[in-house]
């Protein structure tokens, strides 16, 4: 059989040869990475100073002192908000503290973390604060993900977002691993201050806090340690010691009388701080892996368990514990919640930030039968400090001032908006 080789066949072979040169699969990949902006420690210290009020955009922890709310702006500093008239709260000043996440206020002094340092700032005049002291290197270097290594001789003060497009071979798995200098995703409250005998009074922290004041001591928790600072000279605190917390996963600290309640992703831990310089573990209560702020009173601890991307887990509930025997806390009852975070207690009222369900107010007279009195809906709440009928609540879109003097008719009376 003889075939005529015509022009179409020749043309086709040429075309096939043209495009068939490669069977490498390719990916055109669009993604975002973050490039660190470094500053020297001297530069960072020089930037810790007061400035005019700025809009709240990325709020963190909340602390109350008198009629002032101190709200951290993550990595930037601390907003000072005057709520002497809660209906018209005023954002009066901003203290620039690079790397600030947590804070506490004692007397006229603000304690805050400045990356790895503890900074003490005199806030007598919020518009003209004075840096009193840095205690260097008391906090651990930050943990980053995906193989990023920070230059620890300097401080990362911000990140530059870079959107990029690359074309690569599909099976090239070394693509991300070779970049250690950028951060990229690889496929890889209630009342925390205690009555103290000194004339200098402590402020009130939220239940999500990592800083807690108890008498003349400042306690701070990191991932796996508890640090003790002596603040008897409020202007010049001194570092005392570090207590290693081998269980790790520590998220929050709540002081009650001479006890410290630590919330972790896997349980609640009770420390005896009757010797304030040497807290000793008394007991613990284990639970499933979730986020876990905790508050307590004389007989009970209230623990909210929240699942999210940071803490994982699949549990969203309030656990009420019997802590009459501090060495062996017992679960009394669990109450299902939406996505609970910070909580606060005022006498028999229990206030819980329940994510998109808003703020819930319960009558906690009988812990076996918590009765919801009121729900403030329409706000996504994160943390709350309840004090004398006023719930100062951090929400996704603002700092809310909620009057719960009459709990059944609790309502928002003021707000400082968050500008994204």
């Amino acid at each position: 059989m003889q075939y005529k080789i015509n022009i179409q066949i020749v043309f086709f072979f040429l075309a096939l040869a043209l495009i068939a040169g490669c069977t490498k699969d390719t990916i055109t990949e669009s993604y975002t990475y973050f490039k660190p902006v470094y500053k020297t420690k001297a530069q960072v210290k020089a930037e810790a100073k007061s400035g005019p009020a700025i809009s709240v955009s990325n709020p963190g922890k909340l602390f109350i002192k008198g009629t002032y709310a101190f709200l951290s702006e993550l990595d930037k500093g601390v907003h000072i908000i005057d709520f002497s008239n809660p209906a018209t709260p005023r954002n009066i000043a901003f203290v620039n503290i690079p790397g600030c996440v947590d804070l506490a206020v004692r007397g006229n002094y603000l304690y805050a973390d400045c990356y790895t340092d503890l900074v003490t700032i005199d806030i007598t005049d919020p518009q003209n604060v004075v840096v009193k002291q840095f205690i260097e290197g008391v906090f651990p270097h930050r943990l980053y993900s995906n193989g990023f290594y920070a230059d620890t001789s300097k401080i990362i003060t911000s990140w530059v977002r870079v959107d990029t497009v690359v074309k690569r071979r599909m099976d090239d798995l070394s693509f991300f691993i070779n970049r250690r200098d950028i951060l990229v995703f690889a496929n890889a409250g209630t009342l925390s201050s205690q009555s103290n005998k000194s004339s200098v009074t402590n402020g009130i922290g939220g239940s999500m806090a990592r800083f807690a004041l108890m008498g003349e001591r400042l306690y701070t928790v990191s991932w796996n340690d508890l640090k003790v600072f002596n603040t008897s000279n409020a202007a010049l605190p001194t570092y005392i010691k570090t207590v290693l917390l081998t269980q790790g996963n520590i998220e929050t600290i709540f002081p009650y009388k001479d006890k410290l309640f630590l919330g972790s992703q896997t349980g609640m831990f009770i420390y005896n701080a009757s010797n304030p310089d040497n807290p000793v573990k008394l007991g613990q209560f284990n639970h499933a892996r979730v986020c876990d702020p905790v508050i307590a009173d004389d007989a009970h601890a209230f623990v909210t368990l929240r699942s999210n991307s940071t803490c994982a887990g699949f549990v969203n509930q309030l656990d009420v514990l019997d802590i009459n025997t501090l060495t062996a806390p017992l679960l009394i009852k669990s109450y299902p919640m939406k996505n609970p975070a910070g909580l606060s207690k005022d006498d028999n009222l229990l206030l819980i930030c329940d994510g998109t369900d808003g703020l819930k107010i319960f009558d906690a007279t009988n812990v076996n039968n918590l009765v919801q009195i009121k729900q403030i809906s329409g706000i996504e709440t994160y943390d709350v400090i309840a004090i004398n009928g006023l719930a100062i609540t951090v929400a996704k879109d603002g700092l809310y001032f909620i009057n719960y003097s009459n709990p059944a008719n609790a309502s928002v009376i003021g707000k400082v908006s968050i500008l994204k």
């Binding site: 066949i9 075309a15 096939l16 043209l18 495009i19 990949e29 993900s145 995703f185 994982a312």
Partner: protein, 194 residues
């Protein structure tokens, strides 16, 4: 993509010119094809069903099937063939082109989901294009029914997007990653025309 378009257009014109020279004598056909897809460190399979019409050494049809190379997709194609020579043993050239509908398996849909935490990466796939060019040889009977085999080169594309969470030390930032896949394979196919 432009190159493939030009080639398909050229082939279409060539086939049309060729068809005009002879007396039309057409027949409907139904074809089932299975193919071995050999690509970049990966081998998988494809099946296609094509309904078409042949006239004067040229056939055109529409087909669809399943393509399992790396990501499960459903190509929906226009199929063109030009047969060379006479008789039932013929060489032919073919060109397929069309849409590649993304139909990922559950495993493929969830491959970006981080199992340690409960983060919803919200994987989504978008359709791409499909093309296949090659040469074949028929083993038809006197009614032009029977087996044929072919060797070609195929490209399929699809796009995947998903959210990823980057921890900057104090906050998580959610950003979107887009992956535009271009998958290139040598195709060895066996078909049967009914």
């Amino acid at each position: 993509m432009k190159r493939i378009g030009l080639i398909i257009l050229s082939l279409s014109i060539a086939f049309s010119l060729s068809a005009q020279k002879t007396k039309p004598k057409g027949m409907f056909s139904f074809t089932a094809e299975s193919a071995l897809l050999n690509g970049d460190n990966h081998v998988n399979a494809q099946i296609l069903l094509i309904g078409g019409y042949e006239i004067n050494g040229f056939s055109a049809g529409v087909g669809s099937g399943f393509d399992y190379y790396k990501y499960r997709t459903v190509p929906v194609v226009i199929d063109l063939k030009k047969y060379f020579g006479k008789g039932n043993r013929q060489f032919f050239a073919y060109a397929n082109g069309g849409v590649d509908i993304a139909w990922p398996t559950e495993k493929q849909k969830n491959q970006r989901r981080n199992v340690w935490w409960n983060f919803n990466s919200n994987n989504q796939f978008k359709n791409g294009y499909y093309s296949d060019l090659g040469l074949g040889y028929t083993l038809f009977n006197s009614k032009r029914r029977g087996f044929y085999t072919a060797l070609g080169y195929s490209i399929k594309t699809l796009t995947e997007t998903y959210n990823e969470e980057i921890w900057t030390g104090t906050t998580s930032v959610i950003s979107k990653r887009t992956l535009e896949y271009k998958l290139n394979r040598i195709v060895l196919k066996v078909g049967y025309r009914f």
